[in-house]
Symmetry: C2
Subunit: 207 residues, 2 copies
Amino acid sequence: MNSLHNLQSKPPSFGGVGGGLGFSIILASKSPRRQELLRDLGLKFTVQSMDIPEIFPEGMGMTEIPVYLADLKAEAFRPQLKENQLIITADTIVWLEGKVLNKPTDYADGFRMLRDLSGKKHQVLTGVCLLSKEKTVSFYASTDVWFKELSDKEINFYLENYRPYDKAGAYGIQEWIGYIGIHRIEGSFFNVMGLPVQDLYEHLKVF
Amino acid sequence: MNSLHNLQSKPPSFGGVGGGLGFSIILASKSPRRQELLRDLGLKFTVQSMDIPEIFPEGMGMTEIPVYLADLKAEAFRPQLKENQLIITADTIVWLEGKVLNKPTDYADGFRMLRDLSGKKHQVLTGVCLLSKEKTVSFYASTDVWFKELSDKEINFYLENYRPYDKAGAYGIQEWIGYIGIHRIEGSFFNVMGLPVQDLYEHLKVF
């Protein structure tokens, strides 16, 4: 159970606040975090997803990768796209010292990642693509995240209890490891969770 | 319903990660946000509270006020404190352009506060006091928060639907207004919610 559940006293709504959105919105993401963030932003949408390999050209830069992958995921929907449908895709990467940290393949991989992140600043970038029949808009948000020095005990406790195998960089900022390990961020918190909701709201208002 | 509820898959626990804490912990705060944040940090505790007027000496500085008030709240428990009890108190202030924004007294006051915060950076500071029979530790955390320009429509929508009359500065970062309005913070997100859990964890480990 997470605290934040009870803290948002009412379901939010886009109603009356712009973002008319004559579109039928499809979130193309299996991430439960993204689905909940989009819902809490006040949007009505359905979820569809395809398995698109998250492969990007070698040598691609930190800010290009997540946009490239979000675009790739969106383009896969283009052939079946109907009028009045709007696809939202997103891709989040964790960037540490010039390299991407993917989802951990196993316990040892997760341990290695958290050991690498410990005591350092890293970047979390989310690329987002909005695609309709007439228009495509892509953008990204970047947040700097600082981990304190994590003990092996803390890393093991987290991996054993939270099994973050679906999370880039092997952690969720909204989970225990984020509570005890992250003392500072610069940028959007929700971006680190997987969706830069403030930027998305602005782009949707004028789409 | 808030997204973050479902995102923390397991109740966390301090177990095995230090913070031995032979103490029986009492959180002296009526804030449901603080209660949930402390629970999600993995602590077992009970809640007691007293009504202490949140009054501080004139001319007191931004970083002194929340610590002064947290200390004040803790000291009120000293006469009844038992061996092995640890009191945790906290006070959060919103600081905008040299002044404290309190909890809004009514709709018009809340509107005025959000209009003032719109398009600007402000500071959120939480003072925390840990008090046992033998020891007192106080500290604070500060986070810079940036609001985008809010429209009257957005402010009205938020006030009508969320009624943030228990919140300093008339907003909750974890609510709809935080999703659509806050694009950047520098510091701890959970501090803005009312408790700097990472710092608290460190202080508790060595208390």
